[in-house]
Amino acid sequence: MSARVKGPLLAVWLGVVLLLLYLPILSVILASMANTRYMRFPHRVWTLDAYREAIGAYDTVQLHITSLKIAAIVVVLATGIGIAGALAFARYDWRGRSVYRNLVLLPIFFPQPVLGLALLLSFTAAGLVPTWQTAAFAHLVWIAPIVTLVISIRLYGYDVAQEEAAYDLGASRLQVFREITLPALMPGIISGALFGFLLSWSNLPLSVFTTGADTTLPEWLFSRTATNYSPLVPAVAVIATTSSAIIVLLVVALSQATRRLGRSRV
């Protein structure tokens, strides 16, 4: 096949892939605009009633709060642990680093439902009643290594000479970390934190086994798709996804604004 035929063919292929990836998401949006209990597409009446109902419902607010509490704890802890973990991964030379590099990534390559089940069994064996807090711990076990990896990727492009210059000029360890290392790592830290937030917010397989009586948004959606369907379910799905997108956009805008501010100050 000549390159001239191949180019457009690949572009069409890319279009098909994107279409297929977004069809389910489009389907959720379309399904949310009905007012019938059962799905009968195309809807006779197109309405946003389900959104009105969802926004007013106590359940929706409660689900968002539970998911948000878990994600907030996970982001704070995973970012702290991830910064240190990434320095050990990519910045410092130490014996055992190559072993560490492989071991720390193992949880990423581990089936999440299996990890969730193993944690549930351990919590129960230890006499802990699963709640949203145990779920936050479960998320952390899986997400901290991912945040570590994301920050490490940034660290590879990091110039150590700057740090050494600062030491030569008489800066203390803490000063070097605060004034040189941390600002240089900031973009990696912010992407790591955003990854952590989104992965916790959208997580189903760990939450299903570790939240106990509490319910996160993905869990609620999962249980309501099988039983008790109404247009409220897709509407909540759209609201939950939109609110995570808004949070991410806010963080990105905020971090860019502070960076601009920092630059203009210098």
């Binding site: 892939v17 389907s27 439902p113």
Partner: protein, 281 residues
């Protein structure tokens, strides 16, 4: 103070976290798997009865379905990801970035939302696809919802990006001049693929395939949302042992078998790969 100590200190928080949250739970599951059936203590007389039951009582069936599903998903994802990665490479830097971001975004939308959308799309009668076809062309179609095929499509849909992005990373390691040199020396496109691109992109493809296999092996929501009652996957069988049957040791033995399959697949590949090289240095 040497740099060595800084390294040890920096790895300490995550090492403690993983010791408590990853190694210990697996250890507890391992001990439970040797406890007498239907007991809840960790101090019983060790026995292999649960592993025997796992094979004789038909529990190998869900394990087999999960293993087959994961293998087929991995192969199909690799086949679909290769032309997609090539298309992104060809599209020029700006378009390729835009398309890559569009492909990556759904990863951050909950699995339950995306699978729910897939089931809405596939639903018979009033589903998005069936309803649109009937309204627009007056065509009635059946539905594959609640079949093994639907569960498989769900697995492919969810795990495709996990194969694609490592593969893109791998392909970016293939030096362009080597490909051109092979073309100039008269190699056919297939020969270039087989002898130049494939071996050089192999580390990326291996990581993608590995992620895809392991994640699909443990997946259960695809089968639950799209497969209906058509198939029982491994994690679902384990969950039933833990929750409804209250047989923790048997559930633990089945968990250990999945972990064993995962380890057998991962460890040899992990040992050969150099993550540092793949992510930029």
């Amino acid at each position: 103070m040497g740099r060595g100590i800084a390294g040890y200190l920096a790895m300490l928080p995550i090492a403690v976290l993983l010791a408590i949250g990853f190694v210990t739970p697996i250890g507890i599951v391992a001990v439970y798997s040797f406890m007498p059936p239907r007991t809840f203590e960790l101090t019983g007389e060790p026995t292999l009865a649960n592993y025997a039951a796992a094979f004789t009582d038909g529990y190998w069936r869900p394990l087999m379905w999960s293993a087959i599903g994961a293998s087929v998903t991995t192969i199909i994802c690799l086949v679909l990801a290769w032309p997609t990665a090539k298309a992104l490479e060809r599209a020029g830097p700006r378009w390729s970035l835009a398309a890559a971001i569009l492909i990556a975004l759904p990863i951050f939308i909950s699995e339950s939302v995306r699978l729910f959308g897939t089931s809405l799309f596939m639903m018979p009668g009033g589903g998005i696809l069936a309803g649109s076809l009937r309204a627009m062309f007056d065509i009635s179609i059946g539905s594959i919802l609640n079949t093994r095929l639907a569960a498989l499509l769900g697995l492919i849909y969810i795990h495709f990006p996990f194969v694609l992005f490592p593969l893109i990373l791998g392909l970016s390691l293939v030096p362009k001049d080597q490909v051109e040199a092979a073309h100039d020396l008269g190699a056919s496109p297939f020969q270039v693929f087989r002898n130049v691109e494939l071996p050089l992109a192999a580390p990326g493809a291996a990581i993608g395939a590995l992620l895809c296999f392991v994640l699909s092996l443990g997946a259960n929501s695809e089968a639950a949302i799209l497969g209906g009652q058509a198939v029982t996957v491994a994690t679902h069988a384990i969950e039933q042992r833990f929750n409804y049957a209250q047989d923790w040791p048997l559930g633990a033995a089945l968990t250990m078998l999945i972990i064993l399959i995962t380890a057998l697949v991962i460890l040899p590949v992990m040992r050969r790969l150099d993550f540092g090289r793949l992510i930029g240095k």
